[in-house]
């Protein structure tokens, strides 16, 4: 009976999510559906970072690099840059492999590091990737430097392009809504895979490493391998998100992959509740939307004070920062913490 109700609840939730883009389009306008689509990519990124930070306890401040690697993999394999135009189903697995390899390559030198040292080194790696993207223009022009790569093929599966509106059973399906469903599929898959891992032998091992690495190794856990696995998987999720981002936006440039973005993803994970998938999703959505909600600050000032007192983008960052501080003061363990995390904050 209870199980039946719970199943219904899930069904209702799924239905609600399926209707969401239509409701958003109707109530708020098309621009917000676009924001919603980008928000789903953030969720995907946060799910990836959660494996590294939330499960294995490895503080990674350069995570956006894998997003960048995935994005450039897509951009180079489906644009006039090299005149290659691979289909999506071939690009994404390639992007996953490339991103995962980067995850291992960047994780390898950090295996002996922990805490703040690890954060600094990963931050450095993140910057290195960005600098490379900026400068890989000679002797062969690979990344096209700061201009980035444009005219990237739109996301498409066979003859179905996600950049064009369609008609399904006579119902018009706007391009942005179709894209929402595509991204949603990836998010659901990522959630499923991540959850399965959390409650497996590997998930337990990651948590043991997070709690006490020496004790974990002394119980027979190959901590180096397990940590590399976490890096590779997290990077793979980030790579998928990056690939979808490139195809969706149609252009990529290094400035999308700055330290600030890494910090933002980390905030999503920490604020939502490290280690708990539901929290991570909520955190990612919240932080993806908050800056957008604050966007019309200039108009509000105009309306109330009849002229703009503070530069809207500065004020936006300021309010965003204040909101973060309040949230973390109020719930240091995150909005929806994992069991372990909640205990840490309330037993001591």
């Amino acid at each position: 009976m209870i199980a039946g109700l719970a199943r219904f609840k899930r069904l209702w939730m799924l239905l609600g999510i399926l209707i969401l883009p239509w409701a958003v389009e109707g109530l708020l306008g098309r621009g917000w559906v676009r924001i919603l689509d980008f928000a789903l990519l953030s969720v995907l990124l946060a799910i990836g970072l959660n494996i590294v930070v939330g499960y294995a306890g490895l503080l990674d401040l350069g995570f956006i690099a894998f997003f960048g690697v995935g994005a450039y993999a897509y951009a180079l394999l489906a644009s006039p840059q090299f005149g290659v135009h691979w289909p999506l189903w071939a690009i994404l697995p390639t992007g996953v492999l490339v991103a995962a390899s980067f995850g291992v390559a960047l994780g390898w030198p950090t295996l002996g590091l922990r805490g703040d040292y690890l954060a600094i080194v990963t931050m450095g790696f993140g910057e290195i990737i960005r600098v490379f993207l900026n400068n890989l223009t000679a002797p062969i022009n690979i990344t096209n430097g700061p201009q980035g790569i444009t005219m990237i093929d739109a996301l498409h599966l066979g003859g179905w392009s996600f950049a064009r509106p369609h008609r399904v059973w006579g119902i018009p399906l706007p391009a942005l809504v179709g894209t929402f469903y595509l991204f949603l599929l990836f998010v659901l898959l990522a959630l499923f895979l991540s959850r399965r891992l959390e409650y497996s032998r590997i998930g337990r091992a990651w948590m043991a490493i997070r709690e006490d690495e020496i004790a974990a190794a002394s119980m027979g856990l190959d901590t180096r391998r397990l940590k590399l696995l976490a890096y590779a998987l997290g990077a793979a999720f980030g790579g998928v998100s990056g690939g979808l981002f490139a195809g969706f936006q149609g252009f990529v440039s290094p400035e999308s992959f700055t330290l600030q973005e890494s910090v933002m993803i980390l905030c999503m994970v920490v604020l939502g509740g490290m280690g708990n998938l539901r929290g991570v999703v909520v955190g990612a959505l919240l932080l993806a939307f908050l800056p957008e909600v604050l966007r019309p600050l200039g108009d509000w000032q105009q309306h109330w004070f009849h002229h703009v007192l503070i530069d809207p983008s500065t004020l936006r960052l300021l309010l965003f920062g204040i909101a973060l501080v309040i949230l973390m003061r109020w719930r240091p363990e995150g909005l929806l913490p994992s069991r372990a995390r909640a205990r840490e904050w309330h037993t001591s």
Partner: protein, 256 residues
Amino acid sequence: MNTLLEAKGISKRFGGVQALHDVSLTVEPASIVGLIGPNGAGKTTFFNVLTGVYVPDAGTLTFAGLPLPAGQPHRVARAGLVRTFQNIRVFPQMSVLENVMVGFHGRTHCGLLGAWFKGPAVRREEREILEGAQELLEWVGLQSMAQRVASTLSYGAQRRLEIARALATGPRLLALDEPVAGMNGTERGHMTELILRIRAAGIALLVIEHDVRWIAQLCERITVLDYGQRLAEGTPAEIQANPRVIEAYLGHSSHG
């Protein structure tokens, strides 16, 4: 029977401190060996070298006829040599049950794809881990606390949890670093009983302890360390009668 553990000429230096100098020690299968010595004698350092936490400067370690991999704790554990820690190291925020389940890691196989597809073999393995962990908790008397968070257990219970977790790895030699430190008489009695049961199950034990009387009634053989060197080795009776041991060891602890 072949010797289970043979440590020969182990030395380890930390900067100016010669923590271990030419220490040798053997453990026979299913026997209990005591390792005693005053504070700072190098007992814990010896455990750390043994279990791969530190690499020795000199010396050889042979376990069940094979060399122990130096500096690789997880391979030492998988070879069948596991330890507990003087300053208890359970996984504090995991449940008691999960702590023990982690111990089964080296003996089980479920990988990435297994976790994702969760086929019948993986389900069976997961069930076996769960049942095995519950059985071990029963064995050490913690079954009623399976769902508690490890850090909320009493000191003595955490020590037993560490032992259950170590047993989950399927060891042939269990190394205990001061298992009864800070315990009262009754708790010591329980620990003695548990150690004897472990030995009866065919597992050898190497036990560090300060209390000579407690260790003497437990062990077949005792090794005494002092200032990183082996001072004496013998049966409990020999050790207790050894004037050098009485002088060095008891001399230290009386004003320590």
